[in-house]
């Protein structure tokens, strides 16, 4: 398991990844179990009336809370799941280079005959792989829930929405990785990664309520995560492309900055 930097990085994370996976399965499944009681309460939709348009900022732009799509979007995909993916990815990304550097293990790693570029490539790939593991775990939890409560929704659409959250995580994880690789400072990378995440989330969530600010949502990665409503419409390739482009561009940026700087002691 310790054959290269990629496998070693995943090996180090095996326990935390397992607990994150279990957590994602549990959160998804438990939420699903509330669906039968919510779907029997159409009066819930009253909070979606026009006078309450700000409500959209908190649960998303949803027509019917009691439909399978409306339920999943409002309860999981609008806030909870993307934030969990964000948190996981930012933690992973910031630790990739800056974590080893601050602990002091980067010195021995870099005394091996491997280039910084290769170390970064392995670390990035390990982060993407860990995110995919969480996507799968989340989908499993949701799929079991769909079957358990007999929800009328395609498991492929559920996969599309979950995968979209994974792509969002990849974008923000790559941001944290790039910050860590550039500065060598883990806490800084977590802080900036989280602040950018929450800010762009709010931009995407609040702008629909304020018409003048509507165009601002296009700068938010969250728009490309949920704007096309993947659980209803499946993955929007253009939006997926934007998220992966952000991730790749930040990774490319990191290879340049990490290559050029002095490594910390």
């Amino acid at each position: 398991m310790l054959n290269n930097v990629f496998l070693k990085t995943l090996w180090d994370q095996r326990r935390s990844l397992m607990w994150w996976g279990i957590g994602m399965v549990a959160i998804s499944l438990v939420t699903m179990l509330f669906y039968p009681s919510l779907s029997d309460a159409p009066e819930l939709n009253d909070i979606l009336s026009d006078e309450n348009s700000l409500m959209k900022a908190f649960i998303g732009d949803i027509e019917d809370l009691t439909s399978p799509e409306g339920f999943l979007n409002s309860q999981l995909f609008f806030l909870l799941l993307p934030m969990l993916f964000l948190g996981f990815a930012v933690t992973q990304g910031s630790g990739a280079i800056a974590g080893e550097e601050e602990k002091g293990t980067l010195d021995l790693l870099m005394s091996s005959p491997i280039s910084r570029r290769l170390v970064l490539a392995h670390k990035w790939a390990a982060m993407l792989a860990a995110i995919i593991v969480l996507v799968v775990a989340t989908w499993i939890g949701l799929a079991v829930g769909v079957v358990a409560v007999d929800m009328d929704i395609s498991l492929l659409k559920v996969a599309a929405a979950t995968l979209s959250a994974g792509f969002l995580g990849m974008a923000f994880g790559s941001l944290a990785l790039a910050l860590g690789a550039t500065t060598g400072r883990r806490a800084f990378s977590i802080a900036i990664g989280s602040v950018v995440g929450v800010t762009t989330y709010l931009i995407n969530a609040l702008t629909p309520a304020v018409e003048a600010l509507e165009p601002a949502r296009y700068i938010s990665p969250f728009h490309y995560y949920s704007g096309s409503d993947p659980i209803t419409n499946g993955l929007h390739l253009g939006h997926v492309g934007v998220l992966l482009l952000i991730a790749t561009a930040l990774y490319a940026f990191a290879t340049v900055t990490f290559e050029r700087r002095d490594l910390g002691v």
Partner: protein, 300 residues
């Protein structure tokens, strides 16, 4: 001679602080080179520049004739490194740490690893975090030696090792040297350098003050000699003896400091009845101090 490490005006500044200032160093193939200086004098900065962890502000360095920046990977394939503040993956066992390091190097002769492990008495089956400093240092030493590198760079290698192991370490270094391979040891502890090294470079505040042959340094080193005579003597009887200084007389006991050969003072003493002579193995501490001045060093 064949230079393995060459630095040309190697300099590194951090803002206005000059960590290294035009260091010109040559380390020859097959020698054990000591790099001596107090903490913070630039020893680790030099080493980290050689390994391309940090980049020189001006100047350059080459190892095996390869440029330290352009050809760093090829250099690191042939170098073993023991960091000064070594940190190992503390959740891995010693065995896993070595296996990972070996894999990144494309494999090593595992029989040799086992041999090094037995010689140092290293504990490889427990997680690193459960090990003492000395036991971690053994793992660090094994990973620096295990691929039989052409050059081994070690930053304060014997810190944390007990005296018996220092002897074993000494022998390991001698074997590398006998192989025609090269060892670069940085230290702030003089006796360590004195015991292990052929030549020593002394660095102070980022500047290479001098490079000396250890044997030649010992020639010039100061001996403390104590003569016990059958009758009281006077300091004036020894004042004109060449190379003798700091004469102290108490009744029939005379102590003095002699630079280089004690021949002249022994002949001068032979005029009297000598009942006992006490000498101490010369240490380079005094020579070292003469480069630094008092109170500006933490050498022992």
């Amino acid at each position: 001679m064949n230079a393995v490490v060459v630095t040309n005006d190697l300099s590194k500044s951090y803002g206005s602080h000059e960590a290294l200032n035009k260091v010109n160093l040559e380390v020859y193939k097959g020698e054990v080179f000591g790099y001596l200086g107090p903490n913070g004098s630039g020893k680790s900065t030099t080493i980290r520049t050689l390994l391309d962890f940090i980049r020189p502000t001006t100047g350059n360095a080459s190892i095996f004739g390869l440029d330290s920046r352009q050809d760093s990977r090829a250099i690191r394939a042939r170098v073993g490194y023991l960091p000064g503040d070594m940190v190992l993956y503390d959740r891995l066992t010693g065995h896993q740490v070595l296996a990972y390091s070996a894999a990144l190097r494309g494999g090593v002769d595992w029989a040799y690893v086992e041999q090094l492990k037995d010689r140092l008495g290293a504990e490889l089956s427990r997680p690193v975090k459960a090990l003492s400093r000395g036991n971690r240092q053994k793992i660090g030493l094994i990973q620096a030696f295990m691929h039989r590198p052409d050059l081994i760079i070690m930053d304060e290698p014997t810190s944390g090792l007990d005296p018996l192991l220092q002897q074993e370490f000494h022998e390991m270094v001698e074997e590398v040297k006998a192989d025609g391979r090269t060892v670069f040891i940085s230290s702030h502890v003089l006796p360590e350098v004195e015991r292990l090294c052929d030549r020593v470079g002394i660095i102070r505040s980022g500047q290479l003050v001098t490079v000396e042959d250890v044997a030649a340094l010992k020639e010039r080193a100061l001996h403390r000699i104590e003569f016990h005579f059958g009758t009281p003597v006077s300091a004036t009887d020894f004042e004109d003896v060449p190379g003798v200084q700091d004469i102290e007389v108490k009744d029939s006991v005379l102590t003095c400091t002699v630079m280089g050969s004690p021949d002249a003072v022994v002949k001068a003493a032979a005029r009297f009845t000598v009942t006992k002579v006490v000498t101490q193995e010369p240490h380079l501490v005094e020579v070292f101090l003469s480069y630094y001045g008092d109170g500006d060093t933490d050498a022992e």
